[in-house]
């Protein structure tokens, strides 16, 4: 835990000091989005980087959380926390239901199945206009407890930062534990883990459900923060963005996920100067990163710095 302790302190430091340097609400917005996305990315990394599975449909789970919260609070006047929990529960149940048959698949078939699941969810969201507002989207109320609401950039920043710290600590703990070792062993050699007593199916299912629920919770909070939802939040592109954050930042690296998220969330903002060229630029950056830094930024940097030290 020692090397990750340093990273944790660094993260805490950055999160605490950032408000001192952020000049205006726009930058706060970026920071909040990065923090929330990073939570999803860390969960997804546990599935992809550590356990060695793939999910090309995770935005679907995010969508369930986002739209679940929006619909329950907007149309049924549920308290936001109850809505968030209900949506998370629903996501968990769905993930549990599909996990066993899906995770029996490997490689491209697994990718295809998760892709299909994500797209079905997003199509449902687009089509059920009466509930979701369809392609035009729907507004979402604020988040709070009986009267008190989270209002303003700073408050939301606090919430997002605390959530990120929490998720980071939990993830780091997990990786350092026997469960975390079992997950990595599944990636390394499934048959070797099985003969060592690891119930590989159960573990894969659990980490799948865990990452799905985390995506849902983050989706709910994001919906309340942004105040407006469109179906794109559950779409194929968003799923790909999430996977890219994990892969570019570094698979099997919690801090890599955070860095990858930061870069990929800020990139569209930087590229908005190149009107219309965002897709092209995104594609090129993706290819270059994957070809030259296939392990992702953080592990590749670690390797280079490690060599420098020796």
């Amino acid at each position: 835990m020692k090397k990750s302790f340093r990273g944790l302190m660094l993260l805490a430091g950055v999160l605490v000091l950032l408000p001192l340097v952020l000049p205006n609400a726009y930058y706060y917005d970026v920071a909040i989005r990065v923090a929330l996305n990073a939570c999803v990315a860390i969960g997804l990394n546990l599935l992809i980087g550590y356990t060695g599975q793939i999910s090309l449909g995770h935005a679907g789970f995010l969508g369930i959380g986002a739209y679940g919260s929006a619909i329950l609070t907007g149309r049924f006047d549920w308290p936001p926390i109850a809505a968030l929990l209900a949506a998370a529960l629903a996501t968990g149940a769905l993930a549990l239901l599909v996990a066993r048959p899906i995770l029996k698949l490997k490689g491209h078939y697994l990718a295809m199945a998760t892709l299909g699941l994500g797209i079905i969810l997003s199509i449902v969201i687009v089509n059920e206009t009466a509930w979701t507002g369809g392609p035009d989207g729907m507004p979402v109320g604020g988040f709070g407890l009986s009267g008190w609401q989270i209002a303003g950039e700073r408050a939301w920043y606090g919430v997002a930062a605390v959530l990120l710290m929490l998720v980071t600590v939990l993830a780091l703990n997990l990786i350092d534990s026997p469960a975390g070792r079992a997950l990595q062993a599944i990636h390394g050699s499934e048959v070797a883990s099985r003969v060592s007593g690891v119930d590989t199916t159960a573990f894969k299912v659990r980490v799948f459900v865990l990452s799905a629920v985390l995506a849902s919770v983050t989706g709910s909070l994001s919906a309340h923060y942004v105040g407006f939802l469109t179906p794109g939040v559950a779409g194929f592109f968003h799923s790909i963005e999430l996977v890219t954050m994990v892969v570019v930042g570094g698979m099997a690296s919690v801090f890599g996920s955070i860095l990858g998220t930061a870069i990929l969330t800020m990139l569209p903002q930087l590229l908005s100067a190149f009107e219309g060229w965002e897709t092209l630029a995104f594609g090129v950056i993706l290819m270059l990163t994957m070809i030259f830094l296939p392990r992702g930024l953080v592990p590749s940097l670690r390797l280079k710095l490690g060599r420098g030290k020796k």
């Binding site: 026997p178 070792r181 099997a252």
Partner: protein, 251 residues
Amino acid sequence: MLTVDKLCKTFGGVKAVQGVSFTIEAGTIYAVIGPNGAGKTTLFNLISGVYTATEGEVRLHDEVITNKRPEELARRGMSRTFQNLQVCMNMSAVENVMVGAHLRLNSGLIAGMLRLPGVGRADKTCHDEAAALMAFVGVGQYVTAHASQMPYGALKRLEIARALAARPKLLLLDEPAAGLNHTETGEIGVLIRKVAAGGVTVVLVEHDMKLVMNLSDRILVLNHGSKLAEGTAAEVRANPAVISAYLGASV
């Protein structure tokens, strides 16, 4: 301790294992030999639950364990190594060995995330035990190394350390000496004796005749998926069918 009764495995048209039966006494070293393609590794995979049997039965201490999954067999004290190394190259050497102790630790996801009391302490103990096991099998110098940095011979021993970390009562070694030179093979033999001396029943598949003859209490000879002969080293060596089918003029 372990009884195999008319075990069969067919892959499409190939009868890999046909009606093989034998019994292994606890605390002995039992070897399975035979030419390439005789069905030795298939037999291992059947016993350890990696393959499902087409017919027949496997009993461990009178409990029928045919077609039980590998995880369940691990819980019953069975452990194994693999002919084609199955080491987790994405983990460090000592972590690989610690995976072997999985069943003895609290491996819940929630417990891990929350770092419940005891999980950390148990992990430290597990780490120390793993390091000790690495020294026991002769790769103590790689305790701080990553699996990807270790040479082939060391990795073979690492697998044995991982299998031992489970504190098994029955250990299956699939070609432990494959790819090793003369000296290394001798060292593996010494290691296997040490393990058996600790009360573990060892079953090994091997090609190296000298190793097999020196170590084994009993030997099973397979040919084309069926039992050709069974007995002590001396009996098998003298068996004319075995000599003509396999040993030839060697040894």
